[in-house]
C-alpha cells in the first residue's frame, strides 16, 4: 500500500539508505506535502520507524472498530428487548385498567339496584323487637322475597303493623292490626301471613311496608298473578 511504501521510504531516508536521486525526490514531495514533511520530522526525532509500534497501533484501531460493532449489536438487541418489554407493559396496564373499570361499573350497577328498588318497589318487612320471638323458619330474607313475589297490592301502598301468634303448625293466627289501617292493606297482610312460609316461636309483631307500585308493575302482576292467587284465596 501507498502508506507502507511511504513508511519504508521514510525509514530509508532517515537511515541514509537512499540514493541521492531518491532523497531529492522525497524532499521535493515533502516540500509540496506538509503532512509528509511533518511525519519525516517526527520519525527523524524518534531516530527511525518502529514497525512494531505501528502494528500495535493498527491493532488498537481494529479493536476499537470491532468493539463498536459489537456494542452496537448489543445495543440493538437491548433496544429490541426494551421495545418488547414496553409494549407488554402498556398492554398489561391497559388490561388492568379495563378490568378495574369493568369491576367498578359492575359494582355501581348492583348498588343502584338496591337503592332504587328497595324503598320504592319492594315490600319490606320489619320485625318489631318488642313484639315477641317469632321469626320465619327459612329466615327473614326468604320471607321478604316471598312477600315481594306474592304481594298483589295495587293500591297506593301503605304501612301496617300486625300482631299475631303462631299456631302449632307454624301458621300465624289471631292476626290483628294496630291502629286503623286500610282494610285492603289488612286483608292483604293477613292473606300473605296465612299462606306464606311457616314460622317458629310464639308471638310476632311486624311492620310491613307496601310500596307505591308503578303501573307497569301492578299491571303485570294483575295479569300474571290472579289465577294463582284466586286459587289460593279459594282454599
Amino acid at each position: 500500500m501507498e502508506n507502507n511504501y511511504q513508511l519504508s521510504r521514510i525509514h530509508n531516508y532517515i537511515h541514509g539508505l537512499m540514493s541521492k536521486e531518491e532523497m531529492f525526490q522525497l524532499e521535493r514531495e515533502a516540500l509540496d506535502d506538509p503532512f509528509l514533511q511533518d511525519a519525516i520530522d517526527g520519525y527523524r526525532l524518534q531516530n527511525g520507524v518502529d514497525a512494531r509500534q505501528l502494528s500495535l497501533l493498527q491493532q488498537r484501531l481494529n479493536r476499537r472498530v470491532e468493539d463498536t460493532i459489537a456494542t452496537r449489536h448489543a445495543q440493538y438487541f437491548t433496544w429490541q428487548r426494551l421495545a418488547i418489554g414496553a409494549t407488554a407493559g402498556v398492554l398489561f396496564v391497559t388490561l388492568l385498567a379495563l378490568l378495574y373499570f369493568k369491576h367498578f361499573s359492575g359494582k355501581a350497577e348492583r348498588r343502584t339496584d338496591v337503592e332504587l328498588s328497595e324503598p320504592e318497589n319492594r315490600v319490606s318487612v320489619e320485625p318489631l323487637l318488642d313484639g315477641g320471638d317469632a321469626r320465619p323458619r327459612e329466615g327473614w330474607k326468604t320471607f321478604e322475597q316471598y312477600l315481594n313475589q306474592e304481594s298483589v297490592m295495587s293500591a297506593g301502598g301503605g304501612e301496617i303493623i300486625v300482631n299475631f301468634t303462631i299456631g302449632n303448625n307454624g301458621v300465624p293466627t289471631h292476626i290483628s292490626a294496630e291502629g286503623q289501617p286500610d282494610q285492603s292493606l289488612f286483608d292483604e297482610a293477613v292473606r300473605l301471613l296465612q299462606v306464606g312460609p311457616k314460622w317458629q316461636g310464639t308471638k310476632g309483631r311486624l311492620k310491613i311496608v307496601f310500596p307505591v307500585k308503578e303501573e307497569k308493575n301492578s299491571a303485570q302482576l294483575t295479569v300474571i298473578k290472579p289465577p294463582h292467587c284466586f286459587g289460593i284465596e279459594k282454599k
Binding site: M23, D32, D38
Partner: protein
C-alpha cells in the same frame, strides 16, 4: 470505494469500519506528526487513537474536501492543544509553520508558464538572500538532495532545509506580486 466515497459513506451511515478504512492509511504518517510535537512514543500512539475518536463526530459534522490536508491540520492542532494543556513548552520553528500554512493556501493547480515568467523568476531569484538563492538553485535546478547541498555549501542540514522552504516561499510571493502589478 475511493477516499471521497468512503468519506461520503461515513458521513451518511456513521459506520465505524468505514472510518477505520479511511483513517488507517494515514496512521503511520499521523504517528510521525504526533511524535514531532509530543516527543513521546506512548503519548503519540494515544494521540493517534484519540484523534480517531474525535473524527467519529467531526467527520459527520463538517464538510471535508481534502481529507489528507484536513487531517494533517486537525492532528497538528490536536497535538498543539495537548502541549498547551501540559503547559509544556516545545520549540516549534515558526518559519516551518509559516511555510506550511501558506502551502495549504497555494494548493492551486499548475499554472501554465510562459517565457516572460521565466524572466520574472530570474529577477525574483536575485531578490533572495545568498543562502536561499544558493540552496534553491542547487535543489530545484540541479536536483541535489539536502545532504549534498549541505556538503557542498557547508551549511547545517536543517539550515539547508529551511533555506529552501523559505526561498521557495519568497519566490512565490515575489512572482505573485509582479503578476498583480501588471
Amino acid at each position: 470505494m475511493n477516499e471521497k466515497e468512503l468519506l461520503q459513506h461515513y458521513k451518511t451511515s456513521g459506520d465505524l469500519s468505514t472510518l477505520g478504512k479511511l483513517y488507517s492509511p494515514y496512521m503511520s504518517l499521523l504517528y510521525g506528526v504526533c511524535f514531532k510535537y509530543l516527543q513521546d512514543p506512548d503519548r503519540s500512539q494515544d494521540a493517534v487513537m484519540q484523534i480517531f475518536e474525535e473524527l467519529i463526530q467531526k467527520l459527520r459534522q463538517f464538510e471535508v474536501d481534502n481529507f489528507k490536508s484536513w487531517l494533517h491540520v486537525y492532528s497538528k492542532n490536536y497535538c498543539l492543544m495537548q502541549l498547551r494543556k501540559d503547559k509544556r513548552t516545545t520549540q516549534v520553528d515558526i518559519e516551518d509553520n509559516l511555510f506550511e500554512s501558506e502551502q495549504k493556501l497555494n494548493d492551486t493547480s499548475e499554472v501554465k508558464w510562459e517565457e516572460k515568467d521565466f524572466e520574472k523568476l530570474e529577477g525574483c531569484m536575485q531578490t533572495l538572500n545568498r543562502e536561499q538563492e544558493e540552496c534553491v538553485r542547487l535543489f530545484y535546478l540541479e536536483q541535489k538532495c539536502y545532504k549534498d547541498i549541505a556538503d557542498l555549501t557547508g551549511y547545517d542540514l536543517n539550515k539547508v532545509k529551511s533555506a529552501i522552504q523559505n526561498g521557495k516561499r519568497n519566490l512565490k510571493i515575489c512572482m505573485e506580486r509582479k503578476e498583480n502589478g501588471k
